[in-house]
Symmetry: C2
Subunit: 325 residues, 2 copies
Amino acid sequence: MAKRFTADQYADGILAGNRIVLSQAITLAESTLLSDQTLTQHVLDRVLPHAGHSVRVGITGVPGVGKSTFIEALGLFLVNEQQKRLAVLAVDPSSQRSGGSILGDKTRMSQLAAHPQAYIRPSPAGRSLGGVTRSTREAMLLCEAAGYDIIFIETVGVGQSETAVHGMVDFFLLLMLAGAGDELQGIKKGIMEMADAITITKADGGNELAARRARREYQNALHLFPTTESGWQPVVTTSSAVSGAGVPEVWGVVQQYVQQTQASGYFQQRRQAQNLHWLHEAIRHGLEEQFYARPEVQAQIAIVRQQVLQGQKSAFGAAGELLSM
Amino acid sequence: MAKRFTADQYADGILAGNRIVLSQAITLAESTLLSDQTLTQHVLDRVLPHAGHSVRVGITGVPGVGKSTFIEALGLFLVNEQQKRLAVLAVDPSSQRSGGSILGDKTRMSQLAAHPQAYIRPSPAGRSLGGVTRSTREAMLLCEAAGYDIIFIETVGVGQSETAVHGMVDFFLLLMLAGAGDELQGIKKGIMEMADAITITKADGGNELAARRARREYQNALHLFPTTESGWQPVVTTSSAVSGAGVPEVWGVVQQYVQQTQASGYFQQRRQAQNLHWLHEAIRHGLEEQFYARPEVQAQIAIVRQQVLQGQKSAFGAAGELLSM
């Protein structure tokens, strides 16, 4: 990025709904330059009073589940039938990518990407999980300030990013395939736990029966768990991006969740708790970054790790030594 | 604690299997005094080469599941029939206790407590989760150095301590009741996820049929999840502390797990990963402790939290301000 605007220029452009300025501001938020990060904070301070008025939905599922086609089908329903403005952001730390690209190009969702009420942003390349989640959260706030009613945050469903995304959204949707038997398609246990809804994708043609069976199985499995903090009982549906069947229903579930948790006050409480969580996460991240960059720590850490690994030193004792250096 | 020994005196007493010295050393590890923590590290450095040779089992279940009677039954089997030496430690951060005391007095397991090969240690009172998990991990190492072959770490099964305990044991056992329907007795979702085995307790008398049904249900639910990193498929059994039925079988499952994971190398790998995890946890904990104790941070943190809570400041921006103070 060659040129920088002033914080006010970014903010004014975003608040006016200018997509080009929005994209430039997100690029700024993704920058690792300290000066860019400071500028980003100034932009955020300006636009924050206008953010927060969207429904934030995390969407995940392993490669092959049909995430792009599902998101495009649901997205087109939202922008065309519901007159919503939708932003789709991706979290895909390339350092831990384990197959299956995500939003690498916009051709994946060509119809949605071309729609004036939709904004699709691929994941920044070559960043750590911490960096990606930070910039994704900032991108989300910027999109809200630009007037998007609904934010989708998409992850590849194979690892750690899901927990981070769960910590920044209101609703977590898991896409699953029918007929994959006991294996749950490599979805980590913890991910299923976080789901507010599961939709069995590709429920069309010869696959419909299997999808309905899978729906029952997952519903039974989820019933075994107690209701969550929110009082919400996770819902399992079937859907087909090809026929469109079940796609609006998924959005109905999200709306039901939002109504129920807004009425109970949980929705707002959770947003506040998430804000605080991110404050303390950011502090922790900053402290660790400063600590591990110290020359005396860098000189010792490999040796100490080895000693702790081999059980020659206790973890707490070794930590104390490093901290007092 | 009035009197302190030297590190060598503690270490020698522990290595000689002196239970009184062991108890005093654990009390030392639980102390929040900096001088005691330093002394504890010296003791640990001395005894560490003799630690690590036990099987570490986390045991949890909500109040009412019959945890004490089960642990006593299994413990008596281990010390009497298997000639093992068993230490039982409890993790129960009083700050977040939500009903049901744990190892508050040794009368709960009077037979086991009186046995010369068993050592029962109640949870230290009035400590934070971080403090309790730290001292529990240290107590575990001290007990190992004192020659205990098997360490049980017991938690109340209602919250956060389970994750911490899961990070310090080899095997995680969850106790469940039959016939509690869909509710899973308030067990948090994440806890069931961590279980290497579940045993349905109180499987006696009129309850046997329900226990067997519950066993099948849980086994089916667990089958829905993919096999874990260890390659181990969680096992569900039924047991009765009253009749003793199924109690030795639980130990058989633990032994099978240990054999399988030692053969594959996973057992040792996981121990090493846990050591490293605790090193970095301890560093993080120390950094945060130092940071939040700074006078300038203490003066600002409440205001900043409020601003972030209300969405007036972005979490990352606010963190950056505090970190640069």
